[in-house]
Symmetry: D2
Subunit: 338 residues, 4 copies
Amino acid sequence: MIIVLKPGASHAEIEDISRRIQAMGYRPHVSSGEARTVIGAIGDDRGKERLAALESLECVEKVVRILQPFKLASREVHPDNTTFQVDHVTIGGRRVVVMAGPCSVESRDQLMAVATGARAAGAVILRGGAFKPRTSPYTFQGLEEEGLKLLAEARKRTGLPVVTEVLEPQKVELVAEYADILQIGARNIQNFSLLKRVAECGKPVLLKRGMATSVQEFLLSAEYILSGGNPNVMLCERGIRTFETSTRFTLDLNAVPVLKKLSHLPVVVDPSHGTGHWEYVAPMAKAAVACGADGLIIEVHNKPEEALSDGPQSLKPDRFAQLMSELRTLAEAVGRTI
Amino acid sequence: MIIVLKPGASHAEIEDISRRIQAMGYRPHVSSGEARTVIGAIGDDRGKERLAALESLECVEKVVRILQPFKLASREVHPDNTTFQVDHVTIGGRRVVVMAGPCSVESRDQLMAVATGARAAGAVILRGGAFKPRTSPYTFQGLEEEGLKLLAEARKRTGLPVVTEVLEPQKVELVAEYADILQIGARNIQNFSLLKRVAECGKPVLLKRGMATSVQEFLLSAEYILSGGNPNVMLCERGIRTFETSTRFTLDLNAVPVLKKLSHLPVVVDPSHGTGHWEYVAPMAKAAVACGADGLIIEVHNKPEEALSDGPQSLKPDRFAQLMSELRTLAEAVGRTI
Amino acid sequence: MIIVLKPGASHAEIEDISRRIQAMGYRPHVSSGEARTVIGAIGDDRGKERLAALESLECVEKVVRILQPFKLASREVHPDNTTFQVDHVTIGGRRVVVMAGPCSVESRDQLMAVATGARAAGAVILRGGAFKPRTSPYTFQGLEEEGLKLLAEARKRTGLPVVTEVLEPQKVELVAEYADILQIGARNIQNFSLLKRVAECGKPVLLKRGMATSVQEFLLSAEYILSGGNPNVMLCERGIRTFETSTRFTLDLNAVPVLKKLSHLPVVVDPSHGTGHWEYVAPMAKAAVACGADGLIIEVHNKPEEALSDGPQSLKPDRFAQLMSELRTLAEAVGRTI
Amino acid sequence: MIIVLKPGASHAEIEDISRRIQAMGYRPHVSSGEARTVIGAIGDDRGKERLAALESLECVEKVVRILQPFKLASREVHPDNTTFQVDHVTIGGRRVVVMAGPCSVESRDQLMAVATGARAAGAVILRGGAFKPRTSPYTFQGLEEEGLKLLAEARKRTGLPVVTEVLEPQKVELVAEYADILQIGARNIQNFSLLKRVAECGKPVLLKRGMATSVQEFLLSAEYILSGGNPNVMLCERGIRTFETSTRFTLDLNAVPVLKKLSHLPVVVDPSHGTGHWEYVAPMAKAAVACGADGLIIEVHNKPEEALSDGPQSLKPDRFAQLMSELRTLAEAVGRTI
């Protein structure tokens, strides 16, 4: 951290701040420029947050962070890409992993129809929500445990491992019984109790960026899981909130190369939630693969116009199959497979 | 809802959509303009979300919502302001309720010093965090139950009712044992499991807007609590995320008159988190009272430069006392007291 | 500026960068921490932008700015508030200056009705657009010079000085013939040719913040006018663009104390454009005065429902009079007059 | 447009509004639901903006737009893609058009080095700024006419047509003398005087989206040029402003499929300004091609670390050549060439 003093800071003030820095366990390094004195705080990073409190002193103009606050998630301490297995599927490898399925599990018929269609088209992981975080209390909240059972049945039938969302710490154990990958949704990106619990659980995690989560905060949320002892985390970009309303969210593909640069964790993209309209899912899925995504998660529904949630952004199975075929050619062109 | 068809929609398509609308329990009302046919869906609102799925049909251009999706939170069904009691304090009345205290409970000495100072200056509710949602896993996470006990002790000593944050459903009972008001933090605004649990608990709730939560979503989160049987909800504006970086968040005071127009619930403003800098707390607190806020929640710390969290935005007790004195004059000028 | 090197930067790289810093006229100051080497560039600020280009070197992680890039607009070089006269009106003094009038000048009848009403209610400056920047080419574009003549006539009749917008460099002279204050609209905040021309013209300027303009960029735009020789600049906050849609823009009142801290220039607030709905104009106008605004600019129209532009956000004259009366009490409570 | 009335609107109010709608030249169509009465205004679209003013009536809740406000830019009235020639280069065809060159023209040596490198790598249009819109008045403002002459010289030497920015209406003629394509920069997207002048000029236009410009406003700015008689407009996405700071702007690639759906105009992407860091230019350029962009505009500089503007986001010629080679394979995979 660098503490920038206000112009005219006195000698006594500089000494006072240096002493405080030392008391917190850092080595102060004073540098006096023409317009400002700045004091660097050199030393171990953990807990450097406390240095930020110096900003409340009258003589301090601002406190500037130099280092990224995450460690285990950082490529600096772990230069190679992380890869891990989910059943027979390798996450983070050369193959771009496609997860597909309905937004919500609605019925056995619906799920089996979509799952077999998705599998036939080349998806290697099945998605489907049993516990649904819904903005309104008056809308469909998911089939809950019944939905989990249907997912397990679909896995048995198709051989596809299952990713599904868990909404609260007390349900982690239950969901982990049925799921191969635990999904933390965008609304829970800073639900730290939940992050700690999925860390303990040990199952692979698909961590979705929140709609107002900076890349730095995103990696700090991953850090909660990694530092809790679970190294198998995928980062999922799913759209951020901006002023633009022609898409439901603004899928921030810039985050793909940024995350790949800062972190070693696999990066997945969700063009369905990111855009909110099925017509934009295919072009954005292609763009995601082109800029380096390690995976895609795509909503597929056999009757989107009757879906109990997120119908407008779901692809019909035939459109999904068409997209998969186009993605195959594209992936090859960027040195990947699908 | 209004379903706008693409130009050139055929008679058969119009009939098909009308049938679907009817099947969902609404009455279709077709209106053919020069450029577009639009079909209104008339009827009970609950579940109207399902109509949105029609957007996935090829012949549909978009589905436009006409009514607000919340009910119990709406002024339309509850024209009078909601007021309720917390101990001897009336929330939502003529008096602007000031809650003050440290970001985190750090020690008995710290809490008692701040609590007695806050009380002397005119605060009527004590705030203080025992369970802290922290962006980084490496920073202070709160004193937890020990912190709750100190809060209870401070209440006994000062007579001030206590508001403190609860982070997970399983802890609602524990926190409710010690607290007079349960705070739902910005990061949990769409933690629906938590909302449902505080609804059941019945204690008054301070519900903070998330950093990317629209006013409509904010009121839908309140609706979770109200429809769960707990009518005592305060809405708290605490800053949204925008491109501007000179403040930590952008305190959105526009939300005060907007919420007062749309809803009957009391509205509280948090200028400390909203701005992130103590120098801006006083002007924004005054602005909040001027535009109609029913309460303020302000961070006060006896040694902000040593605070374990949010030091830069905390007021020292003497500055808080000065602000309270200025707020008193101001409140009177807008027909309120403090 | 501080140049932060990547971990493992070699001695040769540190020397190379130090040499480059020296070649650009600054003194390098190397500080080696445990995790990073940082090099300060000490010296005169002008042109420090060029140091930013060092970020393109492989060994550089980032370049961090320490000083604000504006000078003449800064309170650091000009500690006292700027005040200036527009006719008999003092801008930036104890009196909060209220400017009122229609969005567009539409006709003599309309303008005279509004101007006399605004004056009677206590406005001291008349606003009105003759050249209108309209998002769509198919909407009313203003009466142009005819509008300017009507404004001059209204000034003659009411004694109120006139503020009106100028859209392009070639029209500065023409508009300055009729107007007492030149308004630069939000869409022209970075129209640097226009800024340079109004600097030369010398007439007082009302500079509106753009909808995506940071406070720093706002003050740099003011710096164009100040450094061009015109010291009489008012800064006007008029709403920024965020994800929230319940207001047309998000009036960012935080900018008022931020601007007052960083700069000596008078700060004006436009609650009409900032919110886009007449119902929110009064509360936000009050909030603006409470947090330290030196002026308000408010749209008033005798028949808002027939206005050729911005009807929904215009106050009728009687509502404006009511607001002025409330503002008078409020201003007194914060040590100002109106 | 649809006018939504407040609950309890009286018969007289419904009649009054219907009369007003008729007076403005539209046919009212009343539809009474259980909770609201809505009135459609049917008829020619031009000037429908005026209907928005009805929102200021007490009995009106809101006015909802049904149709997009642009026409000539719309795919609805012009179903086929627009293509046009710039010298021997076809814009909007199967070939993805790559424009490359320095941010600013700095010297003959710099420009010729970059231009010949860009050409050798496969760029077909040369970019370079002679008039530079700079945030600070203290930074390099461009070589102006001298820069234009150098661009013309580079065109002669390389055969590449030239795109360069024009900043003010009075300079359109001058810039058009030297340039093949006139660039309107992000800061001038709503500089309507400038848009009208480039419309008259008739030269092809590269129109950059502003940093807070919605897709709808973007197309309305294009509409200014089209309705002024100039059909040769390219739309350029170059990054919008969001809360995320790890990139300079947030390149909004979603805008590519959205614009291609709504409009027939060619769409170009600027990954250099969009991300602000050279390391992210290549992945985002690839993503742009994958999601359907018709062109790219990329900053190339022979010595980015000494660039007078935008060094951090400029590619060195060898990295640009490497990118072009990768783009060729990718373009083929999506049915395009480069």
